[in-house]
Each structure stands twice: as structure tokens, then as C-alpha cells.
């Protein structure tokens, strides 16, 4: 009976691997559950690529099957929440970046605000948001920083602003202060071009 059950699991796993060859690398005990999660994600319109990558990451790191399954299941949930916040028209890279932002601690409302404030693609803006929050910057301050620039800044400007803002937010200043306040006379004396 045990052999039959084992054979059944192997057959399911083999079928799953045939549909997604990269799953052949995954622990056989995790293969079928992961394939089922992929099918479920696919059915709801989510991209399966980040899920496959998460399973492969666990495989490379020697994680046990149950941990691989839990990681993929958690990512499915994160992607779903990100898609809900960003809307059904969000592209897979945007959803993935949004999931990273949510996992880092950004509230879903910020993703929704970003969708309103900025024309697609939102990938870089979401990635900058996730990066700031994951770095330990308070989520509300990171969100304020990104939302302030969302409507007008290019992706390159966002990246550059992220570098400057991270430092100033770390000092407790709202991101607005990073560019707004240059008080002292030495700043006036340093006006560009003044001979």
C-alpha cells in the first residue's frame, strides 16, 4: 500500500515536472504540491515564474520539502495581495515588486495610491519602495517619499532620490526636508555659478 502511494506521488510529481521541466530539480516530495500551487496561481491569473524561482531557491539552499512548499504558498498569497492592491491590469513584474514591498512592510493602500499617482510601469517605484522599507526606513516615511515623486520623476530619478532620501529619513527627517531646507549662509554662498 505504501509502495502504491509512493508510486502515485512520483507519477504526479513526474507529470508536474513535465509541465514545468525546472521542477525536476525540486525535491520530489515538494514537486506535486508546488505544481498544484502553480496551477492554482495560473488559474487566478498570477504569473508562476516567481513561484518557480522561489522553489528553485529553496532547492539550491537544501531546504526540506515542507519549507519549500510553505515558501511558495506564502509567495502566492503575497502576489495575490499585491495584485489586489495594484489592480488586475498590473503587469507581472509590477506584481512581483509589489509583493516584495508588501512583504517588507508597506501597506497595501500605498500600492493603490502609487497606481493612481504614476503611469505604468510601476516596477521601479515599487522596487524603490520595497528597498527603502526593507532597509529599515519606517514604512510611512518611505511611502511618503515615493509618493511625492511618483507623478513626475523618471525611474532614474527615483533611484537617485532613493539613495539621498534613505539617508535623510534615517536621520528622522521627512523626505521633503531632504531637498527643501538649505538654510545657512554657506549654502547661499555656494549658489551654483556665482563667481
Amino acid at each position: 500500500m505504501k509502495r502504491v502511494a509512493l508510486l502515485a506521488v512520483l507519477m504526479v510529481a513526474t507529470r508536474a515536472a513535465a509541465q514545468e521541466p525546472r521542477l525536476e530539480r525540486v525535491d520530489p516530495a515538494a514537486r506535486a504540491p508546488v505544481a498544484a500551487l502553480l496551477d492554482s496561481a495560473r488559474a487566478t491569473g498570477l504569473s508562476t515564474e516567481p513561484l518557480i524561482q522561489r522553489a528553485l531557491e529553496g532547492t539550491t539552499k537544501g531546504a526540506p520539502a515542507d519549507r519549500v512548499i510553505a515558501a511558495v504558498r506564502r509567495l502566492v498569497a503575497d502576489l495575490g495581495r499585491a495584485r489586489e492592491a495594484l489592480g488586475p491590469s498590473a503587469a507581472p513584474p509590477e506584481i512581483e515588486a509589489g509583493a516584495a514591498a508588501l512583504r517588507a512592510g508597506a501597506p497595501p493602500s500605498v500600492l493603490t495610491q502609487l497606481r493612481v499617482a504614476r503611469r505604468p510601469p510601476l516596477t521601479m517605484a515599487l522596487a524603490v519602495l520595497a528597498d527603502l522599507v526593507a532597509s529599515g526606513v519606517p514604512a510611512d516615511r518611505a511611502a511618503a517619499a515615493v509618493l511625492t515623486l511618483a507623478s513626475t520623476a523618471r525611474d532614474a530619478d527615483l533611484l537617485e532620490f532613493r539613495r539621498a532620501v534613505e539617508r535623510d529619513i534615517a536621520l528622522g527627517a521627512p523626505p521633503a526636508a531632504a531637498t527643501a531646507v538649505r538654510l545657512d549662509a554657506s549654502a547661499r554662498a555656494a549658489r551654483p555659478g556665482r563667481p
Binding site: E57, T60, P93, A97, A153, G172, D184, P192, G193
Partner: protein, 361 residues
């Protein structure tokens, strides 16, 4: 609130190459060519700025100015942050005696997302030439700022005493940013002045970023005498090319990461540098490890370990096709444990360890 564990120093070095038409009060108009190198270092709790200007006037006279300033911030307490700063500088023009100054400042900042208040006090010394004694400097200022979207407005009042000279300034500055263009304009007035002139002044400048490293800077206006730093009032119009000499670093400098080396010795610093090149290719460079083999794995390698090639300076590198966006990476030294390199944002990987997250712009 504690400082983010990955708050990291940022270095910026630029040089402005420009030309200007200037008329100092009491002098004939002149044109000048200028070279202005600037170095800034912004750390987790403060910063350092070093700036110099070499001016060559059409008549052959030269002017040399230099300054250094540093500031340190305190942790915020109930919305208030303290700032301590110090600055020093000197200038010389042709055969005139030189000016130098050394100042210390204390400021209190109270900020919110859209407005703030700054109260400051300054004390120091300023000297003109070597035959006269340095004069004491004392000043106080208060400023408030407002910000909405990409526009910020700053208004300040400043009262200064330099020996027998004293003056008050009131001014307003507006800053706006739209894409690659940054504009700044200010108007002000000097009053209650003895020995520092009085009247109205105003300046405007625009900085247009052409590429990541090159910008055009335009400025013009009239500015008042600065008795502290030894500059006399004048009017000018200037244009310059700003070249960034040093790229902003993507991440932290190399530092210890979790996990042990294969040899069991204390872990070596491992840092990742990401260099996008053309056609979607990205050069990944690992700095720091003393290892006989360095591998990376990430979503862009399908989590298959990829052996890096030795590069110059003890680094290891690979040139890979990596699409724009967010990516995860780990590094392994000499077949040891998978590590999250500095130079990335370290997050829990759902597998009991860390993974490094980085952006490809």
C-alpha cells in the same frame, strides 16, 4: 527610532567648469572662467562638504576660494532634531589680503512631511588679512519651509554681528523640480545694516541634467556683501558644465555578513557591485573574499550556481543577461554556506537565512 542598519555613506564628487560675467560693487565689469570642484560625503548621521573655486578674470587676476563644512545630526526627539556643524574657509584675490573664517553652528529642526521650522545660532571668527586681529562672529536665524509636490518655499530671517559690522537679512527661496530640471530662485533684502550695505538682492539658477554624469548649470543675479566670508556684493550671469566624477555607490561598503567561511575562520566581507552595461547585460562584481572559488545563484541563473571569474584587485565577476527589475542573489565562497552580500538589501529568504535583493535599473 533606530537608524536603519543599512544606512550607508554616499559620496559625490563634481567639478563645474564655467564662465561668468560679473560686476562687483565698486569695480568695472569683467568676465571670468571658473573651475569649482566639490566633494560631499553623506553618512548615516551627518555629512562633509569640501569645495574650492579657482577664478581667472579676463584682466589676468586670479581668485582662489576654499571651504570645508561638516555637520552631525542627533536622533529625533518628539519631532525635533539637533544639528551641530562647523565650517571654515579662506579666499584670496590678486594681491589683496586674504579672508578666512571659522564657524560653529547649532540648529534645531522641527519637520513634518510638508512644512518645517529651523532655528539656528552661529559663532566663530573671521579675519581680513594678517595684520588685523580676527573679529568675533555671532549670528542667529530662523526659517520656515513649506513643500507641495515638487515645489518647496523657504523663508528666513538672519541677524549677524561681525566685529563692528552688523546686518539683518530677510529672504525667500523657491525650489522646483520637474524631471531633469531643477530651478531655484531667491529674493531678499538687507536692512538694519552698519558696514554691510543695504538693499534688495535676488538670484536664480537652473540645473539641467543631460546624462547621469553631466549637467548644465545657469545662474544670474545680484547678491549682497558677505562680511563673514569676505565676498563683496556683485551682479553676475554664469553658465557652467557640471561633471560628476564619482558615481554614487549603490550600496554599503564591504562588511561582515552572517554565516561562517568554509574554513571556519571569521567571515570575510563580501560585497556586490552591479554595473549595467548595454544590451541587457549586467556585470556582477564580488569584492572582498579570500576564496579559491566564488559562486553566485539567483533568479537570473534559475538558482543554478554560476562560477565567477577572477578579476583585477582580488574581485570576482560575471557578465550576465539580467532583465530590469528586482532580483534575489546569494554568494558562496569555496563551497561554503550561501551568503547575502552587502551591496544588496538583505531580507529573510523563507528558508532560515538571508537573501540579497538588488535592482537592475
Amino acid at each position: 527610532m533606530s537608524f536603519p542598519r543599512t544606512a550607508h555613506p554616499q559620496v559625490n564628487a563634481t567639478v563645474d567648469l564655467g564662465a561668468s560675467a560679473v560686476r562687483y560693487d565698486g569695480f568695472l565689469p569683467s568676465s571670468a572662467a571658473a573651475v569649482t570642484p566639490t566633494f560631499t560625503w553623506d553618512g548615516a548621521r551627518g555629512g562633509l562638504t569640501i569645495r574650492g573655486t579657482y577664478l581667472r578674470f579676463e584682466g589676468g587676476n586670479r581668485s582662489l576660494q576654499g571651504s570645508v563644512g561638516a555637520s552631525v545630526f542627533t536622533q529625533p526627539v518628539r519631532g525635533w532634531r539637533g544639528e551641530l556643524s562647523a565650517s571654515a574657509g579662506a579666499s584670496s584675490y590678486a594681491g589683496f589680503p586674504s579672508f578666512w573664517h571659522a564657524l560653529g553652528d547649532v540648529r534645531l529642526h522641527h519637520d513634518s512631511d510638508r512644512h518645517g521650522l529651523v532655528i539656528g545660532a552661529t559663532a566663530g571668527r573671521s579675519s581680513f588679512g594678517t595684520t588685523r586681529p580676527a573679529r568675533p562672529v555671532a549670528a542667529a536665524s530662523i526659517a520656515t519651509w513649506l513643500r507641495r509636490d515638487q515645489v518647496a518655499v523657504l523663508a528666513s530671517v538672519h541677524r549677524a554681528f561681525i566685529g563692528d559690522t552688523q546686518y539683518s537679512d530677510i529672504d525667500m527661496t523657491v525650489r522646483a523640480r520637474q524631471g531633469t530640471l531643477a530651478l531655484e530662485t531667491s529674493v531678499g533684502a538687507r536692512f538694519w545694516s552698519r558696514g554691510a550695505g543695504r538693499g534688495v538682492f535676488g538670484e536664480g539658477s537652473g540645473t539641467l541634467a543631460l546624462t547621469e554624469r553631466i549637467a548644465l548649470v545657469f545662474s544670474a543675479g545680484r547678491y549682497p556683501t558677505d562680511p563673514i566670508r569676505g565676498s563683496i556684493a556683485g551682479r553676475y550671469a554664469a553658465a557652467s558644465l557640471r561633471v560628476r566624477l564619482h558615481s554614487l555607490p549603490h550600496r554599503d561598503p564591504p562588511r561582515l555578513v552572517n554565516g561562517s567561511g568554509a574554513s571556519g575562520d571569521p567571515p570575510a566581507p563580501v560585497a556586490l557591485a552591479v554595473r549595467p552595461e548595454r544590451d541587457g547585460l549586467v556585470r556582477l562584481i564580488i569584492h572582498g573574499p579570500a576564496a579559491d572559488r566564488v559562486e553566485i545563484a539567483g533568479d537570473f541563473t534559475q538558482w543554478q550556481p554560476v562560477l565567477l571569474a577572477p578579476a583585477t584587485g582580488g574581485a570576482w565577476e560575471a557578465l550576465l543577461l539580467i532583465p530590469r527589475g528586482v532580483h534575489r542573489i546569494n554568494v558562496r565562497l569555496s563551497g561554503g554556506a550561501w551568503l547575502a552580500p552587502s551591496g544588496t538589501t538583505r531580507v529573510h529568504d523563507d528558508y532560515g537565512g538571508d537573501v540579497g535583493v538588488f535592482l537592475v535599473p
